[in-house]
């Protein structure tokens, strides 16, 4: 197949990717959009196989079969709550592939004694670096979300200095490769340094900030792919890689804005974890004597005549796997004439839209899932707000205390509802490690229980009314 035809096919594939992403703008067209994007990928792959530089198909076939099997099995068997870590893992593999391909291209050029331009070597070095950081960073993200690694930020003195040194070392080795591309060992040294760097820049980030990290790593793998596109002079890689790179960066930006924290603070701030933040009021001074525990019967009585109930889910909902119970309770209340809506904070959960996916799995109609700007004005005319496993996203301290780690973060104004019921296992702090005065508010009731258990009890109690 001539080069022109191949590139035209690549153009078609690129158009399909863009149309596919456009389809993702609405649930109605989203499934179709994903299929269109997959078609684009298929065309790109098939057309590449027709490239005349490919002489042998056995290795390729073996790779496709092995990779396809692993990917398919993993995708089918993973539970919905593990979605974020799976995306991180798959993304890591993509980044790793970019590093290997760039390396192979470099070694091939050396083997064939082709003269290489500086552009080529710089792009190769860049792919190797970014791809390796992405691969190892994604593995760490996977580990943190799966609980294999501690969700707390892992900090040690001199950390940032060490990372800076590693980056400089990596760039130094990269420069060496550009100066003398025949040093194949140097490429592996670069990859190894980048690997360590990838691990070290990800471990200081707290588990609940992982959505931002995953989004950023997603962007990196796109950038690595685009860079490899420069190495191979392949337009398909450049276009698709840039699309993904842009997508990841935009999402990362949106999420940081939603938390009112800069990206630098997320990556380097060492925020989060179980230890209370320095200078924060102690839990006792906030809670002692003011927290009111409640029971299913009491909450059921509140719900009996409620005209509007807003449910605010958090990561605890996912951990407790209580999304189906939430749907049941909502349906029960609706059958009694209550309006039930859901308030979804942009960074609730472990990934942007995490809560939405969870509730969609429970078949909650997506029109009821309101984002922060839509739901906040409604709280003052809400009889009961039920918070399930969410903490920092409903902490009023964000509004009142400029020194708090969550200062300025836009929150869901659940305290404006007539009554707030918080379903939580204990008074333990959320990700930011600070106490939450909402729990001690006059109109707040704490329902100390695991989410699923509490909801089951509530459903039973409402049925008894």
């Amino acid at each position: 197949m001539s080069n022109a035809l191949i590139n035209l096919a690549y153009l078609l594939a690129s158009v399909l990717f863009i149309l596919g992403l456009k389809g993702l703008a609405h649930p109605r067209t989203a499934v179709r959009g994903n299929l269109i994007s997959a078609l684009g990928m298929l065309i790109a792959v098939v057309v590449t196989l027709l490239d005349k530089s490919i002489v042998d198909f056995t290795v390729i076939l073996a790779g496709l079969v092995v990779g396809g099997a692993i990917g398919a099995i993993a995708a089918v068997r993973v539970p919905m709550t593990a979605m974020p870590e799976m995306v991180a893992l798959f993304n890591g593999f993509g980044g790793g592939a970019s590093t290997l391909v760039a390396g192979a291209a470099l070694f091939e050029a050396i083997y064939m004694s082709t003269a290489v331009t500086t552009d080529f070597t710089v792009a190769t070095v860049f792919s190797g670096l970014v791809g390796s950081v992405t691969f190892w960073g994604s593995l760490v993200a996977f580990g943190k979300l799966q609980g294999i690694l501690s969700g707390n930020p892992i900090l040690f003195p001199g950390q940032h200095a060490l990372n800076a040194v590693l980056l400089i070392a990596a760039l130094g080795v990269g420069g060496y490769i550009v100066a003398d591309p025949s040093q194949t060992m140097a490429y592996w040294v670069l990859v190894a340094i980048a690997a360590v760097l990838g691990v070290l820049i990800t471990i200081p980030i707290g588990g609940a900030d992982m959505p931002v990290v995953i989004s950023l790593l997603n962007s990196y793998s796109g950038i690595a792919a685009a860079s490899t596109g420069f190495v191979l002079s392949n337009n398909m890689l450049i276009i698709a890689g840039s699309l993904v790179g842009a997508s990841g960066l935009i999402l990362t930006n949106i999420m940081c804005k939603a938390m009112n924290r800069s990206l630098a603070n997320v990556l380097f701030g060492g925020v989060g974890g179980e230890a209370a933040a320095a200078g924060a009021p102690s839990a006792d001074s906030v809670y002692a004597g003011k927290v009111k525990a409640t029971s299913a019967e009491e909450v059921a009585m509140l719900l009996e005549n409620a005209r509007r109930v807003i449910i605010v889910p958090g990561y605890g909902l996912a951990v407790s796997q209580a999304q189906h119970q939430v749907k049941q309770l909502a349906e029960l209340l609706e059958s009694r004439g209550t309006e039930v809506l859901y308030g979804i904070h942009p960074v609730a959960g472990r990934m942007p839209g995490h809560m939405n996916v969870l509730l969609a799995e429970a078949e909650v109609p997506y029109e009821k899932l309101l984002d922060m700007d839509q739901v906040n004005p409604l709280f003052k005319e809400t009889d009961v707000a039920i918070v399930i496993g969410a903490n920092d996203v409903v902490n009023p301290v964000a509004r009142t205390d400029p020194n708090s780690p969550i200062a300025g973060m836009p929150i869901l104004d659940v305290d404006q509802a007539r009554t707030v019921v918080i379903i939580k296992r204990s008074l333990s702090p959320g990700f930011a490690g600070i106490p939450n005065p909402l729990f001690a508010a006059d109109n707040a009731l704490m329902y100390f229980s695991d989410g699923k258990k509490a909801l089951n009890e509530l459903i039973a109690a409402v049925k008894e009314l």
């Binding site: 990717f17 596919g20 992403l21 456009k22 703008a25 649930p27 989203a30 994903n34 299929l35 994007s37 990928m41 490239d51 490919i54 002489v55 042998d56 198909f57 790779g63 092995v66 990779g67 692993i70 990917g71 995708a75 919905m80 979605m83 799976m86 995306v87 798959f90 993304n91 593999f93 993509g94 790793g96 592939a97 970019s98 391909v101 192979a104 291209a105 070694f107 091939e108 083997y111 552009d119 793998s221 796109g222 685009a226 490899t228 276009i239 698709a240 699309l243 993904v244 790179g245 997508s247 935009i250 999402l251 979804i344 942009p346 990934m351 942007p352 839209g353 996916v357 969609a360 984002d371």
Partner: protein
């Protein structure tokens, strides 16, 4: 140098397109968006196929093979997981 300039042009334009398309996706669909765009990043497979298929040296073929495995995991896993997520948003 010509080739590089063209490539950079494509790169810049792709970023603009990406920005326009992605800012229209509502927060509800952000997780499938991450998953879907992650699947697209598996386009590295194209490069991996070229590496694995060219059969220049054992090393480059081995690297190519591993790259094909990795990239295929990214592509197949990515699209299937995105599909699973999006299926849940369909009206029943």
């Amino acid at each position: 140098m010509e080739g590089l300039v063209i490539s950079v042009t494509i790169f810049v334009l792709a970023i603009f397109v990406g920005f326009e398309v992605i800012t229209k996706v509502p927060p509800t669909l952000h997780t499938p968006l991450m998953s879907g765009s992650n699947a697209i990043s598996g386009i590295t497979l194209v490069g991996a196929l070229l590496s694995a298929g060219a059969q220049h040296t054992t090393l480059t073929t081995a690297l190519g093979f591993t790259a094909v495995v990795f990239a295929t995991i990214n592509v197949v896993g990515g699209y299937m997981v995105t599909h699973r997520m999006l299926e849940m948003f369909r009206k029943k």
